[in-house]
Assembly symmetry: C2
């Protein structure tokens, strides 16, 4: 039997995870502080090598997340983001990493473990700040993950999952504003989300407020896809036409 194994070079396969959430009014990403070389002590995404030839990529992603952050991954929805394999992205050897995105609410605070010296939620504004140093090509990965998360809430009902079990339309709008980094018109937003079938279910309850009309409370409806999709306001062009 012909075999071509002779020409297969020694390449390691890793998985990395961009776990995003909305916490404390900010889009945050789970980062670890590396406890091993290379990039010892630097911030990085949780991840690591496939540990067993019989481990699926998805399973490896879940395992690494649990190992390094202590987060419970049962029922966690992971989706492949991209595979990064530039020849020199890891100084030790050739590593191809399959990256996963998890964009999920309600995760606990992490507990460092495995090869991670520390683990914490970090606002993406800080993680992507030019002054923040990140290991490997993880800055690029986080940028890709944020963009994917932004587009996911355009056509799914996922944003509602970041609200409390009972929430107001304003709570939901703030999730969109945080993730997109754009202000939305509260009135049009209200009409839109209450008009989409299966998105919100009124509970009949109302908020008690300090000043202002009480808001109706809603629970998540059965829909997972949004029809029609929520539209992100177009990024305003740099204004080069000021005459005065």
């Amino acid at each position: 039997m012909t075999d071509e194994a002779w020409k297969i070079p020694d390449i390691a396969v890793a998985v990395d995870l961009a776990v995003l959430t909305v916490r404390s009014g900010a889009l945050q990403v789970m980062l670890i502080e590396r406890g091993i070389e290379p990039h010892l002590g630097m911030l990085a995404l949780p991840g690591g090598f496939l540990s067993d030839v019989d481990e699926s990529l998805d399973a490896a992603a879940e395992r690494e997340l649990t190992e390094e952050t202590g987060l419970d991954t049962t029922g966690l929805h992971l989706e492949q983001l991209h595979t990064y394999g530039a020849p020199n992205r890891d100084p030790r050897r050739r590593v191809v990493t399959v990256c996963y995105l998890a964009f999920v609410p309600g995760l606990a605070s992490p507990t460092a473990g495995g090869d991670a010296r520390a683990a914490a939620w970090v606002p993406t504004a800080i993680a992507l700040d030019p002054r923040t140093e990140l290991a490997f090509d993880h800055r690029q990965i986080i940028e890709d993950a944020v963009e994917r998360a932004r587009s996911k809430i355009e056509y799914t009902t996922l944003a509602a999952a970041f609200c409390a079990p009972e929430f107001t339309v304003t709570d939901l709008r703030q999730v969109y504003e945080i993730v997109w980094g754009e202000a939305l018109d509260p009135r049009n937003f209200h009409r839109k989300v209450t008009g989409v079938e299966g998105f919100l279910v009124a509970t009949g309850g109302q908020t008690t407020r300090q000043g202002g009309r009480p808001a109706a409370l809603y629970r998540r409806g059965p829909a997972h896809l949004l029809h029609p999709a929520m539209l992100r306001p177009p990024a305003p062009k740099p204004d080069s036409s000021r005459t005065s």
Copy 2:
């Protein structure tokens, strides 16, 4: 220095290519007939293992395509589709394959080479027919690739690239109909594509026809993205309400 190389299992990294085009009025995919085990003689996507630790994933994809099909890959736009890594997708050993999609016009007929015994364009209707046997998980990959190609022409001007340098609106519409497998209203389609800025540029020429009004000829315009996007007709629900 701490190292964790001891726990890195022996995994091969491959690239596979789903090369799609529109030829002879059909959406077609480039398939090879395998010249080596496993699945000797079976239809498969072109692809193979990374051959060198310094070869990027993109470069490996181009190399494999040229080796197995003889196609010229200069200027070819490849985009990552997905990474498939189920533990038993290859009977020999653990293989993680990074799949690329190329959806491009004007490719020549292939010439088999490398590990391919034959190479040919195959209509996707045949490739995905239940009676067609495909190696590994390549049926799934082709399905994913077709879906991606279908959505790409919704929001890009790529479809026009499958027409001759000068083409009519009907030529362009037929590309959409072939890729989507749906009939479109010629009149609304005409208004739509001629109304999108930068999509089509009238050359002033006309077709000579056998019966029927001559059609205006167009060239591709400078736009790459479509605003607003072309809408795929919604898949009709199975009609369970026929009463007569």
